[in-house]
Amino acid sequence: MPAASTKSAYWQGLRAGLPFLLVVMPFGMVFGVAATEAGLNLAEVMGFSVLVIAGAAQFTALQLMTENAPTLVVLISALAVNLRMVMYSAALTPYLGDAPIWQRALVAYVNFDQNYALSVQEYEARPERPMPEKIAFYFGVTTPLAPVWVLATWLGAVLGMLIPAEYALDFAVPIAFLALVGPALRTLAHMAAALTSVIMALAFVAVPYNLGVLLAAALAMMVGAEIERRMERRG
């Protein structure tokens, strides 16, 4: 009964993904609130969450738009944040590469940090599972992520119009950023990259068109990659 085992793989994924509700709900709401307060209308806020559907990049774009950065700088910075997903795409391909093209396109469209991490973990643990079950597991994990991201954004956008300034939600965006960075500081190389990014951002603070962020990020990536290379060589 392949249909039954595909169904159970879906539910298994869904159960595994449920705890992510606790992360996606507040992030989505903060984005909705912050984007509304920054002056975007409901259609634009929802356009971001439905079409781009990538939290860190959306926050990056929003922050730079608040600072009236040039359109090109907004785009490059936000896409740079998403470049990590090239790795996710490469990691999923050995397992899902034989799925029909429309399924792979859908996998790509809803790819978050969380469904990538959980799915690859599951595929490595049970590589013998047939590919349709692997796909079902992925969309199981995705169910509490992607639709909830859109719904939470909408809630935040609607609520954002009602929340008065005393609640200091101006600072929700930096807090949301920090909440993404803290858990990502896994190794010495990650910490060195983050520290480089901070120092260079301050050094380049006078660079026009918000290009300082991009310069700082490029240097920080090189520092992180170089430290990783040296640590590997030392073994």
Partner: protein, 109 residues
């Protein structure tokens, strides 16, 4: 924000297409070939390289206080980072950060 409606939608649509192409890169376009290791090595550090540069000015010179450094926001940022790092928890970081901010704003009036 001083963008026209067209500029805003341009940002949204180009970002949407670019993000999709990034996510679809290996799954749909490149397939089961491996990228050069030095490229993948740089990609691992994109998040921790871009976000801190964006965060730093927001934390040091918050717009809500007219760009003046603010003890409540500095403490909130430090708590969010510390909890996020130590507990490896994004939700913990948000709760600790916003909690510290409200507490400090309440205490310092």
């Amino acid at each position: 924000m001083t963008y026209t409606d067209i500029e805003i939608w341009l940002i949204i649509v180009v970002l949407a297409i670019g993000t999709f192409l990034i996510r679809f890169s290996f799954l749909g376009l490149i397939g089961n070939r491996k990228g050069p290791p030095w490229v993948l090595r740089h990609l691992r550090y994109t998040t921790v390289s871009v976000l801190p540069a964006l965060i730093m000015p927001l934390v040091l010179w918050p717009s809500a206080t007219g760009g003046e450094p603010d003890p409540a926001r500095l403490a909130a940022a430090a708590m969010a980072l510390a909890v996020g790092y130590l507990m490896k928890s994004a939700i913990g970081a948000i709760v600790a950060g916003m909690g510290t901010l409200y507490l400090m704003l309440y205490v310092t009036g």
